[in-house]
């Protein structure tokens, strides 16, 4: 276990930010598509609180796990910058960043409902991007863990593994889940919810989607 943590810690120290050669990211994925390179991604105002810009980060995961069978051959590099949409040309009206861990019973319950939310609100421009950061024993999440999670919940939105805890600074990594609503035009955090606060978060998201639709 210690070796695993030590490896993750070393890797994290070597791979802060995007464009790096994270050892768990197959080279061929880093080289394909937009990957982690995002020269136009906003660099000013980066922070972890409401109103701050989310720092770009990239992960291994699945963009559409309901359409591509999760397997080693289909793993993709996914970055926050993939959803940065300053001109409104990607069709992303709101981005919901979510964290989960297998040890987190509240996350398990929350993910029982997220696929239905993605189905309902995806056509209105909501993209849910979830990261699995630890397994059931508090070890860094592996891509195998991610694939079991996706299979368990029939995940139908982008989901990644976050063994390096890139989303850790936004809350405590001892705590889950975390939900952040992000404006894809600016990548600024609009709302930050610690825990599964669906009763307040989903009405906000729905009203924000309506407002953005009306403004188009």
């Amino acid at each position: 276990m210690f070796a695993r943590f030590a490896a993750a810690g070393l890797a994290a120290s070597l791979t802060l930010g995007c464009g790096s050669n994270a050892p768990e990211v197959p080279e061929e994925l880093l080289a394909s598509g937009p990957g982690c390179a995002a020269p136009d991604y906003p660099a000013d105002g980066v922070g972890t609180e409401t109103g701050d810009v989310v720092k770009n980060a990239c992960f291994v995961g699945y963009r559409a796990p309901d359409r591509v069978a999760p397997s080693a051959a289909h793993r993709e590099t996914i970055a926050f910058s993939d959803y940065y949409d300053p001109a409104g040309t990607k069709g992303v009206s709101l981005l919901l960043l979510n964290t989960a861990a297998i040890w987190c019973s509240a996350c398990v319950a929350e993910h029982g409902n997220l696929p239905a939310r993605a189905t309902e609100l995806g056509p209105q421009g909501l993209v849910i991007l979830s990261s699995l950061f630890e397994d059931g024993q508090k070890h860094p999440a592996s891509v195998d863990d991610l694939e079991r999670w996706i299979a368990n919940f029939h995940t139908n939105f982008p989901m990644v593994a976050d063994p390096y805890l890139y989303l850790g600074p936004y809350a405590s990594t001892a705590l889950a889940p975390l939900n952040m609503v992000v404006d894809p035009r600016t990548m600024k955090i609009l709302r930050k919810y610690v825990g599964d606060q669906g009763s307040v978060m989903w009405p906000y998201i729905e009203s924000e989607l309506k407002a953005r639709s009306a403004a188009r």
Binding site: W103, S105, G136, N152
Partner: protein, 300 residues
């Protein structure tokens, strides 16, 4: 240990059945869960898969108060069945909405400054893998929980396979699996096949007392949140020397935030039974629909 047979049609949870989905029209009944509706499939712990053709019913539901409370410092000492300090694998302070991994020192000291509003908060201790998983509800403000005792589960190598149509025993607990039994294991938590067999450990008297439920005996079962239907008849070794014929009540501990069978961090009566005529066993013929910690109370 007989190898478990994963049901190929079940995307998530491991399902062992007499005829693994070969007869999706076969009745799936659950005496203890008569009020429940059939689940959409998958495991009972929130990790629902969507298209399992045969699945166990969900429980009747036991909703707790949804008003969050501000939890402060949660403290105590975690010990094993010998009273020796341990981290018990995993100690968590969780509500139905947020879960926090608590830090436990080498001496078993728990001192977690939560400073969060939690919905139906509980302190869960024991990882359910190496240790029996237990929970105590906690209140608003600071909570000094005193000694938190759990017990080691038997080794994985000593687990009993969930073979339909057989009796399986571990730690003095016997389950009578029907020939048509369906068993749904949380394969997210119990990812290795070796972890997916049945194991049980009787709780020491101190561990039973800490639960504050007037139980005369208690056991921790694993894999936690395994759903079995039809509910297997339950027989427990009468280690407490209760007299033959003594009427009993069976309770289960809720650790599922969806509260399908029991309130989160609380106990729910799930059936009645009695001490066998020969005094050897505590018998609950109506069965146990869910594997979690169980407590036995003399019927009042």
């Amino acid at each position: 240990m007989t190898r478990l047979l994963p049901c190929l049609v079940c995307a998530s949870s491991l399902v062992v059945a007499a005829a693994c989905a070969s007869d999706p029209a076969s009745p799936v009944t659950n005496d203890a869960g008569a009020a429940g509706e059939p689940a959409s499939g998958g495991s009972s712990n929130g990790g629902k898969a969507g298209s399992t053709p045969v699945s166990c019913p969900t429980g009747p539901g036991q909703k707790t108060d949804a008003t969050p409370v501000l939890v402060g410092l949660v403290s105590g000492q975690v010990v094993d069945e010998q009273g020796e300090p341990t981290s018990a694998g995993l100690v968590q302070v969780c509500g139905k909405d947020i879960c926090i991994n608590a830090r436990v020192g080498d001496n078993g000291q728990l001192a977690e400054s939560v400073a969060q509003e939690l919905n139906a908060p509980a302190c869960k201790f024991g990882d359910g893998l190496t240790w029996g998983k237990l929970a105590l509800p906690i209140a608003a403000g600071d909570n000094e929980l005193g000694t938190l005792m759990t017990a080691r589960l038997p080794d994985f190598a000593d687990a009993a396979a969930f073979t339909p149509g057989t009796s399986i025993t571990s730690g003095g607990v016997t389950l009578e699996l029907a020939a048509s039994a369906h068993v749904e294991v949380d394969t997210l938590t119990y990812e290795e096949e070796a972890q997916q067999g049945f194991r049980a450990v009787q709780l020491p008297e101190q561990a039973v007392t800490q639960l504050n439920q007037d139980f005369v005996a208690g056991w921790a079962l694993s894999p936690v949140e395994t759903v079995i239907c039809p509910s297997p008849a339950l027989s427990l070794k009468n280690t407490t020397k209760l007299a033959p014929g003594t009427p009993l009540e069976l309770f289960i501990l809720g650790v599922d935030v969806l509260e399908a069978w029991a309130p989160y961090g609380g106990w729910q009566k799930i059936g009645e039974g009695q001490v066998s005529d020969d005094g050897a066993a505590l018998e609950f013929p109506d069965g146990l629909p869910l594997l979690t910690a169980i407590g036995i109370r003399e019927k009042r």
